[in-house]
């Protein structure tokens, strides 16, 4: 029997969306695969597996992280948040940003949406609410359906900032 050198298994303890998870996993397991396949939270999507498209973005402690570029073992001891944690628990309602995406038709196929939402969740709106800053912030996430305009509008609306087509700043 051929055995490929696949490195050791390691213990990982991560708090995801407030719940503690402990698993013994291969050291090479990606955080994205850990979240999706081991923990079973499939709202985090894998779009390129080379850190470019941003679909797999989650929050590790306070930072937006591409979970396809991080090993599960590197998240040992960390707090992770995923898209499943954004809407108020036990309620039918959405977070203000989710609601703004819905109201502005800022998603179509929805595959990239979780990544956008987690990127947005990781920042302080006060630092990013200017239109140029919103574009800069979102330029790390690819969307193939919307042409981005409605996403930018949704963010501006949720953050109560500049609105779309040549309008003015909020008061």
């Amino acid at each position: 029997m051929t055995t490929i050198e696949t490195a050791a298994e390691v213990d990982v303890e991560v708090r995801i969306n407030g719940r503690r998870h402990r698993h013994r996993v291969p050291s090479r397991l990606l955080l994205s695969d850990y979240i999706r396949d081991v923990v079973g939270l499939t709202g985090t999507h894998v779009g390129c597996e080379h850190g470019y498209c941003g679909a797999c973005t989650v929050m590790v402690n306070q930072d937006a992280v591409r979970s396809c570029l991080m090993l599960a073992v590197q998240a040992d001891g960390a707090q992770v948040r995923t898209v499943e944690d954004l809407a108020p628990a036990g309620s039918e309602s959405l977070s203000p940003m989710q609601q703004a995406f819905h109201d502005n038709h800022a998603l179509q196929c929805g595959f990239c949406t979780a990544g956008f939402l987690m990127t947005l969740e990781s920042v302080d709106p006060d630092q990013w609410r200017e239109p140029e800053r919103i574009v800069e912030l979102l330029s790390g996430n690819l969307c193939r359906c919307t042409g981005y305009q409605n996403i930018v509008n949704a963010v501006a609306e949720a953050w109560g900032a500049y609105h779309g087509d040549g309008g003015s700043d909020d008061g």
Partner: protein, 808 residues
């Protein structure tokens, strides 16, 4: 019948025509959607495909023993194992047969061709073992052809030994009136225009999960056409169709790439059946870039006959498609025919002779991408008009005005037989010009003080064939779709249709229409799409057919259901059927104060309390409708012409760009779209389709380009680092306005809007940049327009003048 003319339906609230919020949103927003990669079945195995690293080679040996011996690997399969699987059908008689097998046998014709499949308990182990199969593969390289010139050169290495050359098809109509135009016109010019290789690139890659249990093979596939997958998988595996169920769960975009039926759609089910265990394959992005179809690589050589006053008398065009290896089902041949059919766009130019040629090369098979040949043709036409305007000193806008199809000129039959049933070709252009004027002034003012910047404007007036025939594309399927509508005992409505939801909001519009037809809230309508077991046969979502086919079929089924429901209600009301009307969801006798009968009461009578039914009436309240657009043609007529689309949308795109001379940087300052897709069901969704289409069009106009090494036909791309997908930072502000010219032959007047957005940008950007650089005489003939190509054009113009640097 339209909603407005049925005297028996009276609702105070209408949903068609309103931006009803999407019911599809909640899942993706909260992370609760289920895409193919999210499906988990106990005992599920992972499949990894091993793909050719040679562009053209014989495979003389594959040693799978090391891979098979890896702990956790269950099997390694090659073509020899799949002897019981038939080849993909070659349904189209006039193109070269490729006899494609699901796994390549002893011959590979492009980098990325799958020739082995590794099955293991997890993906990581399967990937490990796949590298051992690759290492155990012995290739005998063959000479390659990397482009059309190489493919069609005399004595070129052939991809298919049983073909006479690499030419797959050459359809050459001859039009004597074009000969005459060329002979009689004041002047002619010849030029070659080039569109580059791109792909649809949905954010969700492809994926297949297959499981066989209780005699039924269930396949979850990220396909745009589940019924077509069912028919093909059953055929190739030799199974009865009722024993194959294909489901597409939530789909992360398709853009045409997922209309094709790929080797993996067949091999993964075969593995599940062979091993008796569920199996899954999820395409990774690196393989997606070589294993999902490419598109748009065309070359057009034109001879244009025109007069001194700018009148275009006739055009002779030879359109050539680089098909890649051609090993894809359905074949990727059709887009270049669509290019030629639509090449005259919104212009009245019957004197067009268009030859259509396809050749195979050692590259990824070409296939469908949103736009499906239309953008390539629009690029050619608009570049021709700008050239004629410049050569004759005619104003570019005025020349377009002279050429556009005028109000009252529809129905208009195009050179190839396309029948523009209605439209706003002139009106859209004029409206777009109005919107553009202040945008252009703003851009000029913004850059007035910068000597390094020039501003230009570009135009495109296009037509968009919607709900096309699939017969010329597939050689097999036609162009209809079915829907079933049911009212249950509790009065809730269920709509099931063969159309599929791929992110465009199909479920929402089905609910809007059913709600209006039956007088209920969209919230009371459950919509089932994308499951061959739960929904009737349909061809899926592609070709801007979703809105038209879905509303056509749901309307038909709803009318039939309503007819029966009214008979039941009339019986329960003890009234004449003709007197019963449906007002806001309840049946009652017109003008009477008698109590009404609800949908729940009618549904209960139909399914449960059959004693309440009229004597002799068959129980149940479920009806179907198969919608086939009446004027859709599937075959060429005696003159070689065809109207292969059920309707024709149209639109105008105008872009204002600035060009930085020193760097070649192009910035789209404003992008204006005036769009006409007939009756609009949901304005927000239509606008979303336009936005997304324009973004993909701009991607093709300025960024995305699959490049291959000309000596080896090896791809020069492997990731998003070298295939440049635009981010929001590259997108201009888009302003969208609408006309609504109803489709005269569709019950609601709906046309379709999926693809139009992609059509304009290549023509617009090339036109605008050429305009900005008119001082240098720059006239771009190729996309993408990049800083490199802009600088090269400026340098070439300066060299031609013998001058150096600076504006003339």
């Amino acid at each position: 019948m339209s909603l407005d003319i049925d005297p028996h339906i009276r609702h105070s609230t209408r949903h068609v025509g309103r931006s009803v919020p999407r019911r599809e949103d909640r899942g993706p927003l909260t992370g609760r959607s289920r895409y193919v990669a999210d499906i988990r079945i106990a005992g599920m195995l992972e499949v990894v495909f091993v793909r050719s690293i040679e562009a053209h080679a014989r495979i003389t040996a594959i040693d799978t023993s090391e891979a098979a011996a890896v702990e956790g690997v269950l099997a390694v399969f090659t073509a020899a194992d799949l002897a019981d699987v038939s080849t993909f059908p070659d349904f189209i008689p006039y193109i070269g047969p490729v006899e494609q097998r699901p796994l390549a046998g002893d011959r590979v014709r492009y980098v990325g061709a799958p020739y082995a499949a590794v099955v293991a308990v997890d993906r990581y182990i399967a990937e490990d073992a796949a590298t051992l199969v690759a290492a155990g593969t012995v290739y005998e390289p063959l000479p390659t052809v990397a482009d059309l010139d190489q493919a069609l050169a005399p004595g070129a290495p052939r991809l298919y030994d049983h073909w006479e050359s690499n030419c797959s098809f050459d359809v050459a109509p001859h039009k004597p009136e074009v000969d005459r135009a060329i002979e009689e016109a004041d002047r002619t010019f010849t030029e070659t225009y080039v569109s580059q290789r791109q792909t649809g690139l949905p954010m969700e890659t492809r994926g297949v999960v297959a499981d066989i249990s209780d005699g039924t093979l269930t396949v979850w596939s990220s396909t745009q056409s589940p019924h077509m997958v069912r028919t093909t998988v059953a055929l190739m595996l030799g199974m009865p169709e009722p024993q194959v169920r294909v489901i597409h769960p939530t789909i992360g975009g398709g853009f045409g790439t997922k209309t094709h039926i790929y080797p993996e759609d067949v091999v993964v089910p075969w593995i599940a059946r062979r091993l008796g265990r569920p199996a899954r394959w999820i395409e990774d992005r690196m393989e997606n870039l070589v294993a999902s179809v490419h598109a748009r690589e065309q070359r057009h050589t034109v001879e244009v006959a025109y007069d001194d006053d700018g009148t275009v008398r006739g055009v002779r065009c030879a359109s050539m498609l680089d098909m890649g290896s051609g090993e894809i089902f359905m074949p990727g041949t059709a887009p270049v025919f669509v290019t030629n059919a639509c090449i005259t766009g919104g212009y009245d130019l019957p004197n067009m002779e268009a030859r259509t040629i396809g050749a195979v090369t050692n590259k990824t098979p070409a296939g469908a991408y949103r736009g499906f040949g239309i953008p390539e043709g629009a690029f050619v036409m608009e570049r021709i008009i700008d050239r004629v305007a410049r050569l004759t000193g005619t104003d570019r806008v005025d020349l377009r005005r002279r050429m556009l199809i005028r109000p009252g000129q529809t129905p208009y039959v195009m050179h190839g037989g396309g029948r523009l049933d209605s439209g706003s070709h002139t009106e859209s252009f004029e409206r777009a010009l109005e919107i553009t004027a202040p945008a252009l002034e703003r851009a000029r003012a913004r850059h007035a003080d910068d000597p390094d910047v020039r501003v230009g404007v570009g135009y495109a007036n296009y037509v968009e064939p919607t709900s096309p025939s699939y017969h010329l594309t597939t050689g097999h399927w036609g162009g209809g779709d079915a829907a079933t509508v049911r009212v249950d005992p509790d009065g809730s409505v269920r709509v099931a249709a063969g159309l599929s939801a791929i992110g465009q909001g199909a479920e929402t519009i089905a609910a809007q229409l059913a709600a209006d037809m039956l007088g209920v809230s969209p919230d009371d309508v459950t919509v089932v799409l994308g499951d061959t077991e739960r929904a009737p046969y349909g061809l899926g979502s592609w070709g801007s057919r979703g809105a038209m086919m879905l509303t056509g079929s749901v309307l038909l089924a709803s009318e039939r259901l309503l007819d029966k429901a009214r008979r039941i209600a009339a019986h329960m009301l003890e009234a004449a059927e003709a007197d019963v009307v449906l007002t806001d969801g309840a049946f009652h006798v017109a003008g009477s104060g008698r109590p009404s009968v609800s949908w729940a009461e009618v549904g209960t009578a139909a399914w449960v309390r059959n004693v309440d039914l009229p004597d002799g009436m068959e129980a149940g309240l479920e009806t179907s409708g198969y919608y086939h657009p009446e004027n859709l043609q599937h075959q060429l007529d005696d003159t070689g012409r065809i109207n292969a689309a059920a309707s024709w949308a149209n639109g105008t795109h105008i872009g204002v760009v600035s060009v930085r001379l020193s760097t070649g940087e192009v910035r789209i300052e404003d992008y204006i779209v005036v769009h006409d897709c007939g009756t609009v069901i949901n304005p927000a969704l239509v606008e979303g389709q336009v936005h997304g289409g324009v973004a993909q069009g701009i991607a093709g106009a300025m960024y995305e380009h699959f490049q291959y090494d000309t000596d080896t036909a090896n791809p020069r791309f492997a990731s998003f680092m070298d295939y440049l997908v635009p981010t929001c930072a590259e997108m201009p502000h888009m302003e969208v306005d609408h006309f609504e010219s109803p489709a005269p032959e569709q019950p609601l007047g709906v046309k379709g809007c999926g693809e139009g957005g992609t059509v304009g940008p290549p023509a617009v950007v090339a036109g605008a940049v050429s305009d900005a650089l008119s001082e240098w005489g720059v006239d771009l003939t190729e996309c993408p327009v990049t800083p490199v190509s802009v600088r090269a054009a400026i340098r070439a113009a300066e060299a031609a003048r013998g001058g150096a640097g600076g504006a003339p």
